[in-house]
Assembly symmetry: D2
Homo-oligomer: 485 residues x 4
């Protein structure tokens, strides 16, 4: 794919797979809107005052139908938006087309190469003269990473004249990042530094990106304020849990049509994502086994009737393996060799390094048979035995299906909108330092409240006497900060 930026008739830049899918995308966006009451409420509440007037927002987050509704909520509130996906397989091309045509600059398509992926990320941050975005919506932290690495390299270059050297790392993807920055320094040695200056802040969507942010905060290298959206209750306890409970079986079914009932399913990790996956598999009739490092999560699994074993204990018995850990090196090629013929191996946690894709690809004489896109059978040479890898080890719910459903993403994305509004509103007040913040509980409760009506729920109201008795305001927030839900 030639990496050329195209333009709509109105001059908006984009690069998508197939602009003719825009109508189809629009129809699905309209369906999704009905399922996303939180975002629609934001439009109704804030749209008239155009709070984002003048704000440039760059987003790096799976370019799906749900994200399209988020983007159009941001634009409905006055923002100008550029977008890329945060995963090479997660773009829904009809969503990208509809947004590119109607609402925002989009650089995303399903099945990017890593080179293309970072090209898109760069485009997403490129606002022409005057530097970069005012705000970033990030998922996994790649946009944030690029800026931080860019600034670091520019500072080094200014100091020592040394350019970043892709050969200095083994990591293929990081080589691309360094190459990109090297090339950009040659053109403009202050590009990322200027970007940093303008930047008001970032709101981060997911565990992995949040972890990176806290590490930068701890090491004092964080360059701008960040809001941790992931740890809103209405995000991590909803999208991670209920989203995966929905989208894991969806991905398995679309990719393999395999019957889940009767199978042995091994879920690596029993955090929110793992809990959602295990619940889905169990209720579909699988025998679920969990692997865990954390004794508390392990004991939770046991209380739900799920055995906790090590991967080595069950590697030869499992039919389906799912990684949900947010860590690396979970399922190694040596594990895969010991699996049953046609065992399914997939990742719904984090990057593709949860599964040892590198080890698999470089296994001597291994043979890859692509059943269909994102569904590959890898056949070991010493037998006719193969295993089935979904989405090349990347997030299978986005690679093989359509990700989380609209309703639960409405919770997550309403948090995003609120976080962006907060950062923008306080851009000059100094309220936010170069630290990581979570949203206050009353906003978290508000996000939930916005989603109850659609489901026909009715809340009970505290009487003043009751509120006093439990020492909370009648209108909330109702729980102490440490409450775990």
């Amino acid at each position: 794919m030639a990496l050329l930026v195209e333009k709509t008739s109105s001059g908006r830049e984009y690069k998508v797979k197939d602009m003719s899918q825009a109508d189809f995308g629009r129809l699905e966006i309209e369906l999704a809107e009905v399922e996303m009451p939180g975002l629609l409420s934001c439009r109704a509440e804030f749209g008239p005052s155009q709070p984002f007037k003048g704000a440039r927002i760059s987003g790096s987050l799976h370019m799906t139908i749900q994200t399209a509704v988020l983007i159009e909520t941001l634009t409905a509130l006055g923002a100008e938006v550029r977008w890329c996906s945060c995963n090479i397989f997660s773009t829904q091309d009809h969503a990208a087309a509809a947004i590119a045509r109607d609402s925002a600059a989009v650089f995303a398509w399903k099945g990017e190469t890593l080179q293309e992926y970072w090209w898109c990320t760069e485009r997403c941050l490129e606002w022409g003269a005057g530097g970069g975005p005012d705000l970033i919506v990030d998922d996994g932290g790649d946009a944030t990473l690029l800026i931080h690495e860019g600034v670091k390299a520019e500072e080094e270059y200014e100091k020592s004249g040394k350019l970043p050297d892709p050969a200095s790392t083994d990591n293929a993807e990081f080589q691309i990042v360094l190459g990109l920055i090297r090339d950009s320094i040659k053109v403009d040695p202050k590009k990322y530094s200027k970007m940093k200056e303008r930047l008001v802040g970032v709101s981060e969507e997911t565990t992995t990106g949040v972890k990176r942010l806290y590490q930068m905060q701890a090491s004092g290298t964080l360059l701008f304020p960040a809001i941790n959206v992931n740890d809103s209750v209405t995000k991590s306890k909803f999208d991670n849990l209920y989203g995966c409970r929905h989208s894991l079986p969806d991905g398995l079914m679309r990719a393999t049509d395999v019957m889940i009932a009767g199978k042995v399913a091994v879920v690596c990790g029993y955090g929110d994502v793992g809990k959602g996956c295990a619940a889905a598999l169990k209720s579909a009739g699988a025998r679920v086994v969990v692997t865990e490092i954390d004794p508390i999560c392990a004991l939770q699994a046991l209380m739900e009737g799920i055995p906790v074993l090590t991967l080595d204990d069950v590697v030869a018995e499992g039919d389906i393996f799912v990684t949900t850990t947010g860590n690396k090196d979970i399922i190694m090629v040596d594990h895969m060799r010991k699996m049953k013929n046609n065992a399914i191996v997939c990742n719904i946690g984090h990057f593709d390094n949860e599964i040892d894709m590198l080890g698999l690809e470089s296994y001597p004489d291994i043979r890859r048979v692509t059943i269909k896109p994102q569904t590959d059978r890898w056949v070991f040479p010493d037998s006719s035995k193969g295993i089935i890898i979904l989405a090349e080890g990347r997030l299978m719910n986005l690679g093989c299906a359509t990700g989380h459903p609209s309703f639960v993403m409405s919770c997550s994305f309403t948090n995003q909108v609120i976080a962006q509004l907060e950062l923008w509103k306080e851009r000059t007040s100094g309220k936010y330092e170069k630290k990581v913040y979570v949203l206050p509980k009353h906003l978290d409760e508000k996000v939930a409240a916005l989603h109850l009506g659609k489901l026909g729920a009715k809340l009970t109201k505290l009487t003043p006497a009751q509120a006093e008795y439990i020492n909370v305001p009648v209108e909330g927030p109702y729980k102490p900060l440490h409450y775990r839900y």
Copy 2:
């Protein structure tokens, strides 16, 4: 689509959508074989003796990947096979292509018109000189119906010279059937009568077809022996129940991506299919309501914590409506008018007449917006309110997804193979009269046993003393005929 029969280089007839998908079909067939131990066991046990040597088998049954494994089991046992689908949307085109190229005459594609559908059925029964098939594998009874109607018309024609008159019926589909027979009588006034003479028998797959067979048995009009495969325990209590538990959410997700959690789902009918659907929806987090006519099934629903109400009680609150009744006129256009905007209405039970598609289509000024194939939004004129119909009211798991998964279909289809073997073996013995039979329990138990190894199960063996104590043979069958499982 021009209705012309094509031929492979080896001379085998076919009509499929796209022969270039044959490789893809073959890869998925190979995956499915690993999941269908019952059929593979039949190949191993019976293949060497070629019991179907000389037998012509016509099948009218969803032309999916799983059916492909069934067809190739029949051919592996020596049969010659012709096939069509029993549903206009259920064909998987890559499966049809692989079979057409490699194994059997196929006339089937996804999205047939009714006219095309019956043309395919006719082709499937057409074996050239010497009459029709020896055996029929039927699903829903359309092949059986065509022969019975053909014979009836030919007899009438012989007696009175009267040709069937399509105008004699309101039913659009039956008009096509009558037209077809009228045309065939003009060419060969004994075609179906000769077919009947040759026919050894039929094995019928599903409730609806079985119901028709018992009615013909009761009225004395059944023309050949029939084996009711549907009421093998390993069929009706597996494929209907566990198959639908799997494929209902699969169809919903592929068609609409809707979040099931939090929704109100109304399941019309709580038979085996309804039980599977309700279980799936409940465990996905929906609030399920069941409608029932049968007090026993209703009480079962209540014991599972599912309220039993009438459709009128809940029509305005439901988000998802599923018909599973095997009856007609379940959800009428007047119900649909009262539903919420974007309520999803689908059928997984039987024919498209469970939903009043005719009433919907003929509703004044209604507007149909096709989101994507098999997913239509019907917008009522007096508002912007619409409802979403899946698969045009036909079986949504086959129209919007890929039907039941391989493993459970292996149970059903192993029953089919055993039934076909039995009919063929006894073709001259007189064992089977023009009646409907079920398979003996020991074969039913055998089908189950063939599927245990794949799931790592180990059976306990009765001691002779125990067997005597409960008065069964050590090797089974273990239960009385009336046992309900």
Copy 3:
């Protein structure tokens, strides 16, 4: 306990533990009535016409609160009733007291010896001059057995003068039966033969008793008509399944207070009782393993995510073992020796011979520590390791808790009332031969229908067109006989 019959002031015979509990029993009977709409409906429908006027009914069925409501339904319809329990531990003494005081002759207490048990059974059948009962309500078939053995012995005695010899059998319980009959022949050599003459028939409650009846039917030795109540759908698919789902954890909790969550529970047998037990244990958070002989039931367990293994495979890992088979010699003393310390072993299926109590009791130097009645720790001599046996191996839900709850027993017992009414109505018509019958489906559906109102359910009504379409009467029955629910 001295085995002396006592009399109420009105002259009614009884033998119960403690008459002072009658008031307490009455209060619980009144609560139960609210939960037993089927029985209350029978009183309303049939009470005025007194159909049992003149009928003597003997019942051998767990003397619980629920049974009390059954007994008082029989008396409300005009019957005279005598009752005993069919299990030495199942009597609820307050229920027995209330009935003895208010309604019927009762011979039952919790904790009978076997000798006492059969004395009670004998009393229950003893109606003074004029022979025995007109009708029997039996559970497990002990009353029926006593009559059949009595008649057999009397015939032998008449023929050969030989008296039954208790020493002719190893079975301790059967020795008691033979002794009883021997003594009765000495007093009246025609007692059971006369009883047989009078008897109109028996309605049998449970699988074990039904199995015995079919064996007698097969061997031509059945002496009177029998109605198999167990195989009414509203019995076997309700009380066996949902009753045990309720009462198994109830019994476990009352007997041991053990936390079920996290434990490995082994359920021997996956019939209706096993399905109920497995469901309860699974939802309480246990890891359930099933043992099965029947491949179909085994495959059902697997489809629910439950592994199927042999007892030997899991004996060392199980924390809780439950027998539900209806067979004997399921858990042997050699199994028990291999179990974990304080493993719980109990039976909810059938007689105490599911567990090898004899082997346990006779194990050299074993030590029995009674924690509380029906909860014993048996300590093996070679270690301090012990296992916990509930209810001495007899039905633990009745021994350690209060049996099935009222609502589900209302289904079962409404079938009993209907069966008794049917036998009595047709006592002279010859409709029933010396065979085993099940109730017709429309009565089964009626039993279910009587229980819907209490749960707020509303049935859908078939239109005549729909009824014709599926070929059933508008008012039912709705299903073919072979339908499995």
Copy 4:
């Protein structure tokens, strides 16, 4: 009951119901030990060093079998212990007897009056000369309350000579407390002040007590350090959730034998306790409805398929009502009047003021019929309609059953032991101020780890590279403080 302190032969003080039950208590304590690996591990790890040597511990916590194992763990570590129950119905008399005989001073019996209850609490704190206890184990905060109120009154008395006046409050229970303190000041005007001086700290078990502590911390009135055990993950997410999932149905069954399947169950509150209750009721086959004030918890319920309504919406349809809120005035007498006949009303949350017992008792002409202890039918005068109240509105799992099972209490109580050890170890270090603390995460994880072996679980070990990648120590703690599990 005469409130006289008795003494064992060794001179230990006690007041229990029936010392003859000590052997039975001992047997059940021995069973419980096998289920409480955390406490047993503490004995093994710390017993040899006798860390509590010299420490006086007063405990106010349900005097059950599980608590007995806690007490004997404290004594095994060197402590001297006095104990009372924190609920008038929760004592298990055989547990109290065994402890009184063998291990500690106990003042507790099932069915105390409020007067007796506070007498017991006073005894528990009374260590003779030298003041009160060094440490308190509290549950609900009554022991802590008594000391705080005592000190406040003594200070007032010293300042103004004014004695506390029971007539100054409406609250019947608080009148007793004030009377007690008034009487104690008359005897020793410095009793509680001296107690405070000696006190090292308290560890508090439950939500309600913790709430009181945080309020005192906020108002600056907390007199000594407190460790909030409730908010250890291994407490609130285990005992509150899984404990109630077990003990709610246990209490319902023992008290009423009611069939849960098919019923409408209304759970007021969807916190940890409510989640456990709802899960248990749902899996037992009830239709569950939740009432909530908190939109986040409400949305969680919806995601599990549970409708969220107000009590007024469902009061006429519910069969079972359970309060779990920790608030007051949840189910009022006006609600109860509208309920179905024999609706069951119970509380598993907090104090008996969740249910308007006062309103019920003072309802004109209401009639109370005691079915059995802790199970009362209250009959409204204007009808024969009654409702059933469990445990007089107090914690029904402790009043009607035996509370949480041993295994989950082992988690909670291991936290207690660790908290007590920590307070005692740091008694002079100044580490703990007059504030509320939670245990550090690594101890929380340790508690979980101690319970895995019993359930046969195996943890996965992080590699150093993985630990570095996610930035945690290889040995944990593995999660950030805000992690919600």
